[in-house]
Each structure stands twice: as C-alpha cells, then as structure tokens.
Symmetry: C2
Subunit: 284 residues, 2 copies
Amino acid sequence: MADPPLNIGGGSLLIAWQLQDKNVLIVGGGEVASHRIDSVLTADAHITLVAPVKGLHARTKGLIDMYPSRITYYDRRFSGPDEIHKMDMVLTALDDAKYSRDICEMCRKARVPVNAADIPELCDFYFGAQIRDGPLQIMISTNGNGPRMAALMKKKIQTALSGKEGEAIGRVGVLRAQLKKRAPPLPPSGHAPDGGVLGRRRMKWMSEVCNNWELEDLTQLDDATITKLLDEGWEKNVVPTLDQLKGRRKRRQPVSQFSQWLPAVGSFALGAVCATLVLWARKR
Amino acid sequence: MADPPLNIGGGSLLIAWQLQDKNVLIVGGGEVASHRIDSVLTADAHITLVAPVKGLHARTKGLIDMYPSRITYYDRRFSGPDEIHKMDMVLTALDDAKYSRDICEMCRKARVPVNAADIPELCDFYFGAQIRDGPLQIMISTNGNGPRMAALMKKKIQTALSGKEGEAIGRVGVLRAQLKKRAPPLPPSGHAPDGGVLGRRRMKWMSEVCNNWELEDLTQLDDATITKLLDEGWEKNVVPTLDQLKGRRKRRQPVSQFSQWLPAVGSFALGAVCATLVLWARKR
C-alpha cells in the first residue's frame, strides 16, 4: 500500500554543526571563500586554505592576515586526496566546476562532508542567510530558490528582533547551568534515580521563568540575581518577578501607554480652540 | 604573535543538510524520537527505526503506521556496528546515556554523523527550533542555552511573517529556473564563455525583481505572468511592476493610510462640538 501524500517533504534537515577544534579545508580564495571563512571561524574550527595567491580576494587576504593562528594558508592548487583524509569538512569556492566536482568525489569516498559553492547537486549541505546575536543564531534557507529572497527574509526577521535577545539568552543559559548544579540531569552512567521527576520539575520551572519574565528583565539576570532567583524561586517552587526579587513595587505602566493617546487628545484640544475662536470671531 | 580577540567565535555552523533518498537510523521510540522522524521526513530520507515496541510513544507509533514505505521499523534493541555502516546519519533518543555513548563512538569510528538527544558533548550537530513554510525553512539555535528561549524566538519570528513568504519564494524559484534557461549559468565542464557577464546581469535583474515587487505581488507570479515578465522585463533589461505587466493603472493607496488619521480627525470634531456646546450653553 502506498503512503498517504507526504506534504512534509521537499525540504532540508536544518542543523547546527559543531566544529570546535575541528579541521576545515577551504579550496579557493575569492569573495565566496572569504564568507565561508567567516562562517567557519564563527564555529571555532581551524581552517586550511588552499588557493594560488594571484586569485586571492582582498577580503580573504585580510582574514588570513588577521587570524594567522586560525587559518593556515598555502599558496598553491589543491594537491589530491591526501589533503582530505585529515579533514572534518571540505568547502570548495571555485570558478571551475570540473575541479570542484573532482574534489567532491574524493570527499564522498572518504566520507568527509563537502559543500561546493554554486553547484547544489554536489553538496552534502547548503548554506543559508544567517543572523548572529551572541548565543542566538538563526539560519534562513529557501531550499535553493534564490539567495535574494533569503536576504529579504533575513531583513524582515532582523526588524522583528529588538537586539536584546542574544544577551537574554546568554543570561538564561547561565541560570540554567546554575540550576542544573542544584538539580542534576541524567548521570552519565544511566537512568535518573527518581524516574526523571526532578528533571521534569526543572524544565517546567525554567519554562515558566522564560515565559513570565520580559526579555528586558532576563538581560538583568546578573550572578547575584540568579542566586536570589534560585533561592527564593526554585527552592520554594515559585517564579517571582524581577521586581519582587529586587523588593521593588510594581513598575508603573510605561509612558507609551499614554503617548499613544496623545494625538487624539491634542486634536480634541485643537478642535475646541478652533471652534471657540470661530464663535468668538462671529460674536464680535 | 597571538591573533586579535575573536568575537565571532563560540557558535555553530548552521547548515541545511541534504538527505534526499539517504538512510537515517533512529535508535529509540519515545516522544523525542517522534520529533526526529518529523525532521527527517521533511528532508525526504528513508528512516530505519530500532526500538522495542513496549517503549514506543503513541506519536511514534502513529508515524510508523502512516508512512510504512518511508519508515522501516524493527521491534528490538540496536544490534551493533553493522547497522551503522550503511547509514548516512544516526540519531539516538534514549533514556540510557551509556547506551547512547556506545552508539556515538561506533558512529565516530565509521565517520557517520551522529546526534544523541540530551547529550550535547556527544553530538556532531544540534537541532534547533524550526519554522517551515513551503520552500522557506528557518532554524533558531541558542547554542545549547535552552529550548525554551528558542521556542520564544520562534514565536516572535512567526509573528513577524505574513504567511505568504513560502508561496512567494516558491514562485520566485520558478521565475529563477525559467530565467536560467534563457541565461544559462556556468557550463558543468568549466568557465563561462563571456567571463560571467551574463550571470552577473541575471543576478542583478533577479535582485531588482525581488526588491521592487511586494511579497503579495510575487505570489501572483503564475506561469503566464512569468513568461510575460521575462519577455517584457528581462529581454528589455527593465523591471516592470505587476500592474504594468497586467496593463492596470497604479493601484490607489491602501485605505490604512487614511484610517490611521481617523482618531485624530474624530477627536478634532468632538473637541469643536464640545466647545461650541459649552459656549452656546453659557450664552443662554
């Protein structure tokens, strides 16, 4: 029997690949290669860059000069399969499609993940438009339907973010790590002794903090406030607000609540003044 | 000499992994496994699921029943390294951390990418919060700082999107494919004969269409309109609007332009009436 129509297919598996202290080979030194370097440095990998110096883009050159201990540069063409075996990932950014194709075939044989810029059918994975704000990373993929639309989506999403998200996420990460010390997750050797009750309570409490606190308040979770939140919140199984923790009264409504009525109030006053003047002028 | 401080590090490499017709092994059948199945089906892979039937979550069971030709299910525990060699990716979703750790070690030896749910230090890659709208896919990663914040960011981004983005991107993809037939990209054998002039003109024209057209207009790019846009736009090296293409006059400004002044105008009138009434009452 055939499966029901799968309207969930046709996409990619979006993942956050871990490259800390891994080795990445980039073949090619043009502008595209320079953006690959950005992405790979973000993920803390070591880069081996292979490209004749005459084809180096100024941006690539600048990055090589700026990060000598992170990028090992060789002024030559790719030399063959021996270069691939010690690599955890290979990226080609070349004008010559046949050259890229040969490298991709070697990578596939050696089971090394590979991306060939501009030749989607050779790629194990694609890049997308990226947003970075500290620990927050967002990728936008149009699944090969054009980089321009991905850039537009990126702009739209950036407009929707306040710029405080990365900071808030970082502080929540610290809170979470501190909480895990008080309520440890699964031991490495096996099952939780309490059948996971503590873990579930921890996740529920963390969710409530994230849901109930404003983003702005989360950014104010310094180390002292975190200790206080754990002592007076987690230990008593409640979620106090930042104001309660700091012993402040509830803050008054922000000014914008009033200011949104300002045009209407102003117009009312203006209308009253105009009518008075008109009537007064007629009376004279 | 040490490199300058790298404030771009500390992140992941966000990528769109390609799994069409690839083989993915999922070990475990709980709720987390069921969400892994969703992600992998999105990317059109074939799934081998290994988990004793007594531990199957209802959601996992439902998916196995719904997609029998996409998911091969074995009612047993993972049997050993032989299961890994034919796989392109392995995902574990187990309560038993030691069991997960053993599987991850086998995968690393066989150079098969692996993710172990809840044990970040064993993972080649992480999952994140995901948004899907046709060809548009968005991933939000907090780099291990908590799924709750990722879910909040997801909600924020979803609110910023109109729901028309996927459709617009799909239609732009069709336009792009049609344009590529008229202005082919690099031949597979090597360099572009014109030094890339045509390719650059194509990219520039596509960018202008995406930038100048409203999202709503892009969704109306049916096949006939695409042909017309290529004939009257690309061939003449201009970017007509949808209205120009359809021979319509420029649409009038949307009503909202006026309606945003409505409260102020109403208040002005109300103020005038009130003042008149007060003066009139005093006169009597």
